[in-house]
Each structure stands twice: as structure tokens, then as C-alpha cells.
Symmetry: C2
Subunit: 446 residues, 2 copies
């Protein structure tokens, strides 16, 4: 598609999407240059299109060291791993990931064929290029992953607007409305929702989710609204009463002026942190005009940011998806994370609330603790590194993020105890409580 043709389709068939595009989003498209022309020539006999060095019959010429390192792959995949990926990703992977995404989705909610990105951040960054841009209001519940500010604000020039996700310890369903309260009606806006969340491991209950959806629907009455679902931790919910499915499916079809975008990937769901395989999905039927026009723009952004996606790690992920055992393995892993979560919450229950209080946490990889007033999070972090042999993440202004996903259950109580001790040492003004009893080590990491 030419940029003009894509834009015509969006203007006509998806006016809210069109209204939501950034300047870059309007001018970008996937040019008809080398990858496009090479894709058209895929099946000819005399193929002098693409600049990858092959034996002349589509087989990679291989350096021995690379080839041996890839020896765990099936022969065909081992060849594919060395060659360029199609711009949108390997077709089989896109199909299989779509099935994976939709295994609990209502059948009547359309979704596009996922487009492969270089990890989840690349998906968020492409969404920011498409829908963010200079001065665009971007609403994010607080506290949030700092990279959102870097991506949308520092890099893209948007205004990142926060509002608290919790108020007096309770979920704030109107968080996005609140963040956008100062924005004139009618102006397009973006919201980023990340459930289960990072840095605070939270997923809304059924009632909270319904209230959040009501609020977003009301917001879409007054303006075009893009909602980016950062589904990095999809399904990792430790409270069985809380829905596990992505909010994307609930937003899909909720309102004509609400454009949901799903960013997900293998990073956390398949524990492939080093693979950088992410996906970007729209709420439009695959191969529809609107999905095609949006894909054309995403590929233009992929082409100009990274050239093409990583083939080698796509085939590694594909091997796991083909195997069939992944769903069971992931369920076991989630149960294991659930046990770590339980141990963490139990240990935190006995810390002195005058020093620090955990925020609500029922999901994900992390718990966020709020420090007593007057304490500086980064000062506490550095003190814990220097004096307690303990590492945590400081989240401004006064939170610590504890990653229970990367600590064995048996060591979590000690991590919490050392954190509490460090905080106490830095809080002379705070009432020094009786030292908490040593948390029990009821459970050992299997």
C-alpha cells in the first residue's frame, strides 16, 4: 500500500484511528523497496533480489561456528534462523501466536494477525510512534514503569500524565479519566494499561475491571482514545478470583472511538527474556482493509527502526509453540510464581507498617512497598546494596520494587527482613517498632 492509500482506508473505515495517528503515523508506510520487491519475487527461478548470501538455491551459506550453535533446531529452522525474516514475522509463528492469544478470547472479538516486533518494548515504541507524538496527552496509572516516560515523553515529545492507581489502598477505576481531566473534550488521547502491572503486581478484580471499562467507555464519548494494553505479564495472576484474560478483549468493540492495541510477547510469557520476540495486534479482523493499512504503517516503523525482526529467536519460540507442552509448563511455572508471591506477602505482613507498607498485590512478578514519609527510595536502595547485601529497585518518589520472580522462596523472607532492617536504620525519626519476628520458612522452592 502507498501511504496515501493506507490513509484513505483509515479515514474512511476507521475515522477514530485516523484521528488518533501522530504526524509520523500519518506519513509512515512500508515502502515498495527491497523487502517488498523481494517478497514479490519469492517464487521465481532466477532470483537476484535480496542481499543475503546464499548457495543460490535459498540455502544459507554457513559459518561453522554459527551453524553448530544452532544445532538444536530442526534442519529447516536451522537454515531459516540464518536468513532474513519476512518483515511482519514468520507466517507460522504469527498464526500460532494468534491461536495462543485467542485461546480464552470470546470468538466474536476480531483480532489481526500479530506483527512480530523486537521484544515488547519495540511494540510499545512502535505504538508510541504511531499514536503518540508531540504534545499528545498519554495517560498512565501511577506508579508506572519509567520507560513509558522515556518512550512517549523523552523520545516522542508527548505529555505523560499520571493519576494514582490506588487511593487509600483501593483500586481507582477512574484513573485514566482523572489523568486526562485537564484535556479539552474532543482532543485525541492515549492510555497505557499494564495488568498484571509492573512495578506493582496488580490485576483488577471482576468488579474493578467493569468499573474501569465503564470509565474508559465514558471517556471515548468525549474523545478518540487509543488504549495500549501492555500485556507483558498476561495470565500471571495469583488470586484465583481475579480474571486472567487480557483487557484487550473487553476493550475490543467497546466503543467506536476507542482503539485498543495489544502488545504482548514471549519475554515473560515464555520466559524468553533474551529472545526479543514481541507482537503487536489490532482489534480488526485479519486481512481486513483497516488491519492491512495499520500493518503497512507498523512495517514502515519496523523497517526504519530495526530493519527486520530477529529470525533466529522466532524459530526458537516456534519450536516451543509447536511442542504442545508449553501451556502445561507455563501453568506449572505460574503455580511456582504463585507460591513465591504467597511467601512474599506473608513476610511483608509482619513488617512494621510505620516503616513500609505493601501496595495491593495479587499478580505479576513484583510487589511494591511504600516507604514511610521522609524516606528517599534511592537512598534506601543504595543503603541496602552497601550494608545489607540486598538489591531492590527504587521507584520514585518513595517506593521499593521487590522482584519475587527472581528470588527463591526460601530466600524471600530474608530479602524482606534485610529490606526492613535497612529501612529502619535510615528512619531514625520514625517510631522504631519492635523487630518483627523472623518469618517462617514454610515453603521451599521446588
Amino acid at each position: 500500500l502507498s501511504a496515501q492509500r493506507s490513509n484513505e482506508i483509515l479515514q474512511r473505515e476507521a475515522p477514530a484511528v485516523w484521528a488518533s495517528l501522530s504526524d509520523l503515523g500519518r506519513r509512515i508506510h512500508f515502502p515498495r523497496d527491497i523487502p517488498f520487491q523481494a517478497a514479490e519475487a519469492r517464487s521465481v527461478t532466477y532470483n537476484g533480489t535480496i542481499g543475503q548470501i546464499t548457495d543460490g538455491r535459498g540455502q544459507a551459506l554457513r559459518l561453522e561456528g554459527l551453524d553448530l550453535a544452532l544445532a538444536g533446531l530442526e534442519p529447516a529452522d536451522r537454515n531459516t534462523a540464518l536468513l532474513y525474516s519476512p518483515m511482519a514475522g514468520l507466517p507460522e509463528l504469527r498464526e500460532r501466536w494468534r491461536q495462543w492469544q485467542r485461546r480464552a478470547a470470546p470468538v466474536d472479538r476480531p483480532s489481526s494477525l500479530p506483527i512480530v516486533t523486537v521484544g515488547m518494548t519495540h511494540g510499545v515504541s512502535i505504538a508510541a510512534d504511531l499514536f503518540g507524538g508531540l504534545d499528545k496527552p498519554v495517560a498512565v496509572p501511577e506508579p508506572f514503569w519509567g520507560n513509558y516516560r522515556q518512550i512517549f515523553g523523552t523520545r516522542g515529545g508527548a505529555r505523560v500524565l499520571g493519576a494514582p492507581l490506588f487511593r487509600a489502598g483501593r483500586f481507582n477505576a477512574g484513573v485514566i479519566e482523572e489523568a486526562l481531566a485537564g484535556e479539552p473534550a474532543g482532543t485525541p488521547a492515549v492510555a497505557v494499561l499494564n495488568f498484571p502491572a509492573n512495578p506493582g503486581g496488580y490485576a483488577p478484580s471482576e468488579g474493578e475491571r467493569a468499573a474501569l471499562l465503564d470509565s474508559l467507555r465514558a471517556l471515548a464519548e468525549s474523545r478518540p482514545l487509543v488504549v495500549i494494553c501492555d500485556d507483558a505479564y498476561e495470565g500471571l495472576v495469583h488470586d484465583p478470583s481475579v480474571p486472567k484474560s487480557s483487557l484487550f478483549w473487553d476493550l475490543n468493540g467497546l466503543h467506536d472511538r476507542l482503539t485498543p492495541v495489544k502488545v504482548d510477547g514471549a519475554t515473560k510469557e515464555f520466559l524468553f527474556f533474551g529472545g526479543r520476540v514481541g507482537f503487536l495486534t489490532f482489534a480488526h479482523e485479519q486481512a481486513s482493509d483497516v488491519a492491512t493499512a495499520l500493518e503497512d504503517k507498523v512495517l514502515g516503523l519496523t523497517r526504519t527502526s530495526v530493519g527486520s525482526p530477529v529470525t533466529a529467536t522466532q524459530v526458537v519460540l516456534l519450536a516451543a509453540l509447536r511442542g504442545g507442552g508449553a501451556e502445561r509448563e507455563i501453568a506449572e511455572l505460574r503455580a511456582r510464581m504463585g507460591r513465591r508471591h504467597q511467601v512474599t506477602m506473608r513476610a511483608l505482613a509482619s513488617v512494621d507498617p510505620a516503616l513500609m507498607t505493601p501496595l495491593p498485590c495479587n499478580a505479576g512478578c513484583f510487589v511494591l512497598v511504600e516507604l514511610a514519609a521522609g524516606l528517599d527510595a534511592d537512598e534506601v536502595r543504595r543503603h541496602l546494596l552497601a550494608h545489607e547485601d540486598t538489591g531492590v529497585i527504587a521507584v520514585r518518589p518513595n517506593y521499593l520494587r521487590l522482584a519475587f520472580c527472581s528470588v527463591a522462596s526460601a530466600e524471600i523472607p530474608e530479602l524482606v527482613r534485610r529490606t526492613e532492617r535497612g529501612v529502619r536504620e535510615l528512619a531514625p525519626a520514625v517510631r522504631v517498632g519492635v523487630p518483627a519476628p523472623a518469618p517462617s520458612r514454610l515453603e521451599t522452592e521446588s
Copy 2:
């Protein structure tokens, strides 16, 4: 480093670099958030910093399908492949790539520790973010790889200015001066040089190189000039009299106001097209203040574009670099590409010059042929696909790019013959020459 501290260093110690930075380049820095804090906590016992799911002792928890797919790796690498990469890349890989880069470099030319990018395009895109930006003049010899226009112009808002690399079939050493002739003295500019080139496989001779360097030195007298060396095809030179080394080493130290940037990678040099391992290198001593300040900015751009580099393909490349046989294998491969180049040039020598003429070609993967006036390159391309079972790349306005790197020697004459026949069919106005004799098949691909 804070953005402020990096900027102070560059203002004081590298004023030409400072003058060359884009607005984004000035405001970006690597924030002290999760990856920074996790790096600081690397060696503590109780590490609750980073959000990757591990056994609690730094070992990845593995899905069986992923783990088996990576079975060709050494056990330690197999673990590393699943986990997040350090933001700048694996230290051992950076060291080894630096040695690889410098194996023919003059010892007195400083270079930084290469920063890992997601393939070469990501390196170019980061350089564009750093030094390009709105309205910046970016000079590129014509014809050029179309993605430069997309990256610098469509994406970044810069003005891409071309001038011909050849004039009457001879190398135009003043190409960059010519492209920037209309720019007021004193205003910063960027040049992109890609030798061996894509789409036309050319590398300048010793004399041409000297004249080009003179021209660039003269240009730096009048303005801060960033020269991005796109070294994708480094070393792939088929004429033994032509220097193989990167222009980066000649630009390094050439003039105070000239800032060379080296973009290279495993894509073409190690035939790892699907791995997306590239590198960005500056002409400043590793760990110097200026190198550190620039690295800080590059990491800010990596963080906001892709999160972190791909670990799995870094360890695959590392396996090839450790093996020690790579240099010999690459030399053999280059000899093989040299034979294909020879066959291609011989076949082209007998085509009717009234239909098409090859541009000078002594290097790289491609030859560019100029079509007779009045022929449209894309029309010819589509005709070849439809009627000659042959794929080539159309380069506007009237060039075809033939990739001899991906066609077996035995089939190259037929590729050329079909291309010529297709051109003849579309060129009724052109004098129809006597059909060229069938090219000999002197050589067979080994």
C-alpha cells in the same frame, strides 16, 4: 550519567560532537531505572531487582521447547541466551568484536568498545536519532539504499540531499561537498558513506579514497560534520588493488570537526542475516569521558526503541568468534563471492549497451545497471517477474539491482540474459541490437 553530566562532557571535550547532536540527542540519556539499578546489584546475595523469572540463583527457568532449540550452545551460553542482555551487549562479545574490527586498523586510531544494536539498521537509526533530526542536512551519494531516506527523512524529519557517486562513469570524490553545496557554512551536517556500497557494489580505489578524504576534510573546515560509515559489507572487495579496510579508520583523527561513526555487524560479515547483531562504534578511546557520554545516549535510545539487545543471537555470534576459524571461512566465502562477481561482470560485458549499462562494480553483493532512457525500472521489474521468471530490484528512477550474492554462478548468465531480454521487449523505441551470444558457463559454483 545524568543527561546534564553527559552534555557537559560533550560540550567541554567534544564541542563538534555537541554541535552535531539533534534535539533528541541532547535530551536522551540512559536513565537510572531498572536496568541501571539491576546492573549495580549484580553481585549481591539477595537480589530482588530485575524482572526476569529465574530459579533464584541466576539460572533461567526454561520451557523445554526453548531449551532444546538452544541445545547447540555451550551450557553457560544456553542459560545466558534466555536472559536479558546487558544494555550495551555482552562484554565478551564487545571485546571480541573490537578485536575483529581492529585487526587491520592502525594502532594509533582510538575506538570505543562497540555497543550492540539490533542489526545494522538499528545502528543507523540510532545514529539518525542522535545526529539527524528536524531539517538537518543529510548527504548521501546517489543512487542510495532507499531506507536511508525513510530513516533520516520520513522518520526523523531531516533533509536527505543526494549527489551522484559517479559522473560519466567515474567516481565523484566531491560527492558530499556537492550534496551540501547549498547549506550555509557553519551549520552542522551529516554524511552517510557505504563502501562497499548497496545498491551498487563499489569501493573506492586508493586514489579515489584519498580524494574523498581531502574533500571531507575541506568540508569539516566549514562546518561540524558527522560521517556515518555504514560498513555492512566491510572487507567484501573483489578487486585486489582496492583497499578493503573501513573508511572509519581514515576519518578517525582526520579533523577536529569531523565525527566519524562506525556501524557494522554480523549480518553480512558473518552471514547472520536472521540474527540482528550490529554494533555502533565511536572514534574515542574506550572508557574515555566522551565515549562514556556517547554510550550513555546510545543506551537511552536502545532502551526506548527495543528495551535491550537480543542475547540469544549474541551468544550464537560469540560461538563463531571464539572458534577461531571464522576468519579463514570468511576469506573463502569472499573468494566465492568474488567468482560470482567475475561471472556477473563477464555476462554483463556482452549485453547491448543501448539497453542497459552496468555502473562501476568492484565490491559487495550487487551490481547496478542503468536502463536506457525512457525505461521505467519498476515496469521492467514487474515484466521480468511476470514473463521471465526472474526477480531483480528496481531502484528509482532507472536502475536495476542484481544481487549476485544470492545466485549460483552457473545461473548468473541466465539471470543476466533474461534481464536483457525483458528490457529489450519493453524498449521498442531503442535500437534493437543483435541478440548477444549466450554467455559461457565457465565456472560452476562450488
